[in-house]
Amino acid sequence: MDKQVSMYRTMCLIRAYEDKLAEIYTEGKTPLFSIAAGTIPGEMHLAAGQEPVAVGVISHLEQDDVVTAPHRPHHFAIAKGVDLRLMTAEIFGRQSGLSRGKGGHMHLFDPQSHFSCSGIVGAGFPPAVGAALAFSKQGRKNVAVAFAGEGAANQGTFHESLNLAALWKVPVIFVIEDNQYAISVPKGQSTAIAKNSDRAQAYGIPGVYIPGNDVLAIHEAAEEAISHARQGQGPTLLEIQTTRLYGHFQGDAEAYLQSGEKESWRQQDPIAKFRTHLLDHHYLTPEEDQLIQKEIQGLVDDAVKFARESPEPDIREAFLDVFAES
């Protein structure tokens, strides 16, 4: 119950964060989605609607468990405990950001929380296998989780990594976020079978499809996969049905969607549903909910304020960190 409320809280925090970034993203841009201009430049892939995936899985993880995330990373980063201020400053390209502005929205690195992401589709699978290999060599009880979209499951790295992980029996969980689209391409036009989780058979590992974008169902399935991995039983493949409430990136006109599709997703908002569930079961009162909303709004506002007030990086920063000093 506390756990459920805590998950709810994290989901709300993610949503508030994404909504805030969506708002700020158009700030200072003419035309509205002018990519190079404004407070937040560059591409922006928001994950609103996909909170259950991040929260359902990552709520099982310890700080020193590893997460590798894709180009749509914020929900995973927040769930994993990446510092909101440093992350926001990074997204704003500021000196106080996680990478002093050198990484940006698709390249958030936080060794503290063992979080990283990449802008290359499918690129997070191999490093997760490698982290899991390190854990097993070092006798650590940690796990690594690689998240990726359903589009990424057709990249060669998916196949190679699952085979390698299954072969080595290392503690890694592969999680496919099935939001049904890869940019404009629907799953049926990219994937020869209905469920990527069935591809687990190709590696002799468990594969579970979790419909409904339901954080509790996800939490349950993830629990089994993660304890399986922690106990040295090797990898699991999860595929989780979810919905993308913003476009692929901000500015995406989404002309390729079927009519009514977006509305149906909105009506199935996983946070609203989870809230109803919590209220119905009296795990949460409306008053507590209000407190939570207020608190998380405070966190988001604080992070944004922190980022806004941080200076731009010094130009010299551009020339540092190509190589580490040994």
């Binding site: 190079a36 560059g42 990484g103 390249h107 802008g119 290359i120 057709n154 990249q155 990219s190 130009i315």
Partner: protein, 339 residues
């Protein structure tokens, strides 16, 4: 580019898709595939309207499986198709490179000339809009290093259309690089020098010929793609300071028009290469080497290179602006060279 018809300015994105469309009309074996090239029209609009005109049989959205769909162009072209395949960003080449450089590029040679692969791989390059280290690279120098690939980098809509048509008609694999900052996308800053008159009819710009973008007598600037309009702007700045700059748009890196390089250096006695690719072991080095081998005696000053200083492209706007050659950087570098 002289024309008697009224001026018909086109964005470079439009010019590219017009070129492809005209070839698709001419030859039923020309097909287009890649990610989001269909209904979406290509993330950068290079295939806009083609799906609507030619349908899903000839304009095909693919899964995110670059090795497979680029490699498919090898077998398809050997059996008679002439595919135009989009690799969304050149930055993604690493997931498909083996098919490109070990097979597409070499099969003609390895087969003693009996196999041909008329394939165009078109791909977006360049930074300047905070897309960071994995979506802002140029990398044409890397492809130019590997034998068997023609490498073209248009700088304006006229060349873009003519070189696309030439590339499709070419019996060799052509790497066709379009700079995002020249496309005229609206949601992306674009240099309007790239939006020039484009004849409606089909025409080709031959691959392997540089163009004197502007005559000058004091110094030669060698560039491709987005660096060409930037060099033109720098030239304008310097004109007011009494410095006469010649701008050479190389247009094609493979085959490289060495003669145009030598001719220009012979005329101006000073050379600077301006490049959005990484500085070392790339285009700027090659042009410098060509001059050092074949035109050394004409040089009055050391050769100068201005390029991305061997760092990944940083995300932050100010940092990115510090590493991608700007009009100011170019102006200053030329000034120093002619001092």
């Amino acid at each position: 580019m002289a024309t008697t018809t009224p001026v018909r300015k086109l964005t470079m994105a439009r010019a590219i898709s017009e070129g492809i469309g005209q070839e698709m009309e001419r030859d039923p074996n020309v097909l287009v595939w890649g990610e989001d090239v269909g209904v979406y029209g290509g993330i950068f609009g290079a295939t806009q309207e083609l799906f609507q005109r030619f349908g899903p049989q000839r304009v095909i959205d693919t899964p995110i499986s670059e090795s497979a769909f680029i490699g498919a162009a090898i077998g398809a072209s050997a059996e008679g198709l002439r595919p135009v395949v989009e690799l969304m960003f050149v930055d993604f080449f690493g997931v498909a490179m083996d098919q490109i450089y070990n097979h597409l590029a070499k099969n003609h040679y390895m087969s003693g000339g009996s196999v041909r692969h008329p394939v165009v791989i078109m791909t977006a390059i360049g930074g300047g809009y905070s897309d960071a280290a994995q979506h802002s690279q140029s990398l044409y120098g890397l492809f130019a290093h590997l034998p068997g690939l023609k490498v073209v980098v248009p700088s304006n809509a006229y060349d873009a259309k003519g070189m696309m048509i030439a590339a499709i008609q070419d019996d060799n694999p052509v790497m066709y690089f379009f700079h995002k900052g020249l496309l005229g996308l609206g949601w992306m800053p674009s240099d309007d020098l790239a939006e020039v008159h484009v004849p409606e009819e089909s025409y080709t710009v031959p691959l392997g010929q540089a163009q004197v973008a502007a005559q000058g007598s004091d110094v030669s600037v060698f560039a491709v793609g987005a660096m060409v309009p930037k060099a033109m702007r720098a030239r304008e700045n310097l004109r007011h300071q009494g410095i006469s700059v010649e701008v050479i748009d190389l247009r094609t890196l493979v085959p490289l028009d060495r003669q145009s390089i030598i001719d220009s250096v012979r005329k101006t006695h000073r050379a600077i290469i301006v490049d959005e690719d990484y500085r070392s072991f790339g285009m700027s080095a090659e042009i410098a080497a060509v001059i050092a081998e074949e035109a050394l005696e004409y040089l009055d000053t050391p050769i100068k290179r201005l390029a991305v200083p061997d760092v990944p492209i940083p995300y932050s706007r100010v940092l990115e602006q510090a590493v991608i050659p700007s009009v100011d950087h170019i102006t200053e570098a030329i000034r120093q060279l002619t001092r």
